[in-house]
């Protein structure tokens, strides 16, 4: 571990399933004392995007990834949670070596830390490595993405009142809710979900393509 993520995602619920370039959500990459060395970032501001290698620290025990105890197949939430795919054909956290891979946009270097957007990381996630994104070897815009292609445009319409919530926090919450953070594809319009983000608890329900924010309050 060289650093950890610091952001509003204090709750696993609501973390985007993949990074997205258009995400407004900011994450601070806070280096640990040993790796908080200004020289180690020399030249990094010339890159617009970075890779983070990180640890799936919140992987649940019921699907342990301790060596010798892994499952060859997993159920991706994008497929409704009821179809099994090979673990190496998914980005599931339940894998033999639970290392996550995320590209983020670098916004700036601040006091020896990195401010990035687009991360799909929970607050406190351990980070093992930061690498520059090299478009000539890392970018394949025409890559065929199997089952992941089919659902990528799904978005919910979010209805609700901002109230006293700061504008940037509300913007983040709306962005998260649009992605449909419900586990798998549950479809009960009466059901209420709760999500913590940046010090607020959001209660919402989903009816078809519409997500209604029922309540939002300080935690």
């Amino acid at each position: 571990m060289i650093a950890y993520a610091q952001n509003g995602h204090t709750d696993k619920f609501g973390i985007p399933r993949q990074s997205r370039d258009e995400s407004p959500i900011l994450t601070r990459i806070v280096f640990t004392p040993e790796y908080r060395v200004q020289e180690a970032l020399r030249g990094i501001e010339d890159f617009s995007h970075l890779w983070l290698l990180w640890g799936f620290s919140e992987v649940e025990n019921r699907q342990s990834t301790i060596e010798g105890d892994w499952s060859p197949t997993v159920r991706p939430p994008r497929l409704g949670g009821n179809k099994r795919m090979g673990v190496f054909a998914t980005r599931s956290p339940f894998r033999p070596n639970p290392i996550g891979l995320t590209s983020v946009r670098l916004l700036k270097v601040a006091d020896g830390d990195l401010i990035v957007s687009g991360a799909d990381l929970m607050d406190g996630t351990p980070i093992y490595d930061v690498k520059p994104y090299l478009s000539y070897s890392d970018s394949h815009p025409e890559a065929k993405c199997g089952f992941a292609d089919e659902h990528k445009a799904d978005r919910l319409a979010v209805i609700g009142e901002r109230g006293d919530v700061p504008e940037t926090v509300w913007r983040d919450i709306v962005y998260i809710l649009e992605q449909d953070p419900r586990p798998a594809y549950q479809d009960d319009p009466e059901r209420e979900y709760k999500m913590d983000y940046a010090g607020y608890c959001v209660t919402f329900s989903v009816d078809g393509p519409t997500l209604r924010v029922r309540c939002i309050e300080k935690t």
Copy 2:
């Protein structure tokens, strides 16, 4: 380790510095017995590209990456080997957690292994994880790549006779030599270099933009 790479790069010398989509060089990802499970690859053929996370097993001791003994700056070969950059602004193997990241093109699944092209891996490299490439989150064709942009089009003209070398091996060798495998940017037209690839030893020299294959023989 879940697998290892098997290809013609039996010599560190000549391994491309990054993966390239157009590379003709084939690598077989050979799963270890425990992870050689057909089910774990279910659905993977629907993806055109994959990520490999792997270990820099050939990192030299003189720049050890054992924790507590890392250098905040490195000298990227693209900058001639004499300019220092922050380690997190480079893809150098000499980093706190020496995990490599490479995107490859998936050609096929063969007998429980993966046949890929474009890898910048040495024969025998340990592989920790295989993930599908998701273009909607991994691809940023417009990403700004700092110093790495400046030199990306450098190519040498390769002159030489194929002789008895099989056509596919010769094609690979020419591709490797075009990338200029010399350490840093040495510039002595008299100097002879040797590279082992796929059972052949290639001797060559470089004069300006031209690389001449002096000799190629079975090892």
